[in-house]
């Protein structure tokens, strides 16, 4: 039997880089799609509001795992065979966009109505209102919950292991297949996830305290 060794740990740490990369892709994709979604949710048009709301309801009511299976196995059988990284990137984007869209909608709505009225009086058009008045303030409100949500993203990238993408969780399974010490290995894997997520949690909480202290 092969003993759990420093090489294995090193292998896990290297795999953790893919976890970080996947998280960044998920966050970037989620932000790119999530911001328009948030703006649609607060738009004046009923149609846009409805569309965004339906999207968010559907994604928040389905497990991420099923979205992953659909985009990897489902699209594969339809003839669009995607690379695991691409399938995971698409799935995480779909997932993160729904949650970020909803978080950011709340933050945009949290900007006092008087700010809208004041910028209206100054003759700013809607684009200018968003760019110079509303969004800069919304960003400040949005930072703590967004950092908090990044923890969820990092943890959920572990699901990419089920479509064969070798990130941290999958690497743990691979090492386990050769050493058969699941308790030790998954404890190490858990510890690496913790090392990535805990600082984010602490920063999120710190930012939240700071934001609340101002009020």
């Amino acid at each position: 039997m092969i003993q759990l060794s420093a090489t294995h740990i090193l292998y896990l740490v290297e795999a953790a880089r893919w976890t970080v990369l996947l998280s960044l892709i998920a966050f970037a994709g989620g932000a790119l799609v999530g911001l328009p979604l948030a703006l649609m949710r607060v738009s004046r048009s009923k149609l846009l509001r409805g569309l965004a709301s339906v999207y968010i309801q559907i994604v928040q009511g389905t497990p991420l795992l099923i979205v992953l299976f659909l985009s990897y196995f489902g699209l594969g059988i339809l003839g669009y065979k995607l690379d695991p990284l691409v399938a995971a990137g698409i799935s995480f984007t779909i997932y993160a966009a729904a949650f970020l869209g909803e978080i950011w909608r709340g933050c945009i709505e949290a900007v006092p109505k008087t700010q809208w009225e004041a910028s209206d009086c100054l003759g700013l058009n809607p684009v200018q209102q968003y760019a110079y008045v509303i969004l800069p303030q919304a960003v400040r409100i949005a930072t703590p919950p967004t950092v908090g949500f990044m923890v969820q993203i990092v943890k959920n990238t572990s699901l990419a292991s089920v479509i064969g993408f070798v990130e941290l969780a999958r690497a743990g399974q691979i090492v386990n297949n050769s050493t058969f010490e699941p308790f030790a290995i998954f404890a190490v894997v858990g510890a690496i996830y913790f090392a990535i997520c805990y600082p984010l949690s602490v920063v999120g909480r710190y930012l939240e305290r700071k934001a609340n202290a101002g009020r």
């Binding site: 559907i58 928040q60 009511g61 389905t62 497990p63 991420l64 795992l65 099923i66 979205v67 299976f69 659909l70 196995f73 489902g74 699209l75 594969g76 059988i77 339809l78 003839g79 923890v151 943890k155 959920n156 572990s158 699901l159 292991s161 089920v162 969780a169 743990g172 399974q173 386990n176 058969f180 010490e181 699941p182 308790f183 998954f186 404890a187 894997v189 858990g190 996830y193 913790f194 997520c197 805990y198 949690s201």
Partner: protein, 227 residues
């Protein structure tokens, strides 16, 4: 696109999906109930307990909330069995989901308990309520009412997250989908169906939680307003 959608397998396999959904409901209702219990006790310990107890609960909450559920499930199922504690896939799933739910409930309930003002406790004292009565009627129920929306969405999220237990071959809805799609090669159709079933389950859970809220919180029932 030359692909033809074919849902014919449903005629034969629908009982499998029903059985899978039923196991999902059983697993999640059990772990929501147990996890809520664990979390409430931990939240009380976190607010009213001594420094050591507070610290232990803090470590538990941080450890669970900063690691993926998938890894927690692997540790319970593969890890514990390698240490000699063999649990079935279903029991492992309930244990892992309960531990996970407990940590999130602790944080949510803690916020609720801390929102109960000191004067409420003093008033309860003056009325001669026992410690247990105070905790149940003056602290926990009002605390729960305040954080009920957050609790509800956490419960629904847990139901969705239970799909991850398919990875240790607990035969719930997602595992059923994996099985049927490997028999029929209709993965797209199978996962679309299962996604719809999960959507329906989320709606069902939300409705049930709303109804439970009405029964539990008299004030909400009579005034019809959220707190």
């Amino acid at each position: 696109m030359s692909y033809k959608f074919d849902f014919e397998f449903l005629a034969e396999r629908w009982p499998d999906f029903v059985a899978g959904a039923w196991l999902t409901i059983q697993l999640t209702v059990a772990s929501i109930a147990l996890g809520f219990l664990v979390g409430t006790v931990c939240a009380l310990a976190r607010v009213y307990g001594g420094p050591v107890l507070r610290r232990i609960v803090g470590v538990y909450v941080e450890a669970i909330r900063n690691t993926p559920l998938l890894i927690q499930i692997f540790i319970v199922y593969f890890g514990l069995s390698s240490l000699g504690l063999k649990l079935s896939a279903e029991v492992s799933a309930i244990v892992a989901l309960t531990v996970n739910m407990g940590a999130y409930t602790t944080e949510i309930m803690r916020a609720g308990i801390q929102s109960i003002q000191r004067t409420q406790l003093e008033a309860a004292d003056c009325l001669g309520l026992t410690r247990l009565q105070t905790i149940l009627h003056v602290v926990l129920l009002p605390a729960m009412e305040r954080v009920y929306p957050a609790l509800s969405s956490q419960f629904v999220l847990l139901m969705l997250a239970s799909s991850i237990t398919s990875q240790i071959s607990a035969e719930e809805l997602t595992a059923t989908a994996n099985l049927v799609q490997s028999d029929t090669y209709r993965s797209f159709e199978v996962y679309v169906i299962v996604a719809v079933v999960y959507l329906a389950l989320s709606a069902l859970y939300r409705f049930a939680l709303w109804a439970i809220g009405l029964v539990l919180f008299e004030r909400r029932r009579k005034l019809g307003t959220p707190l």
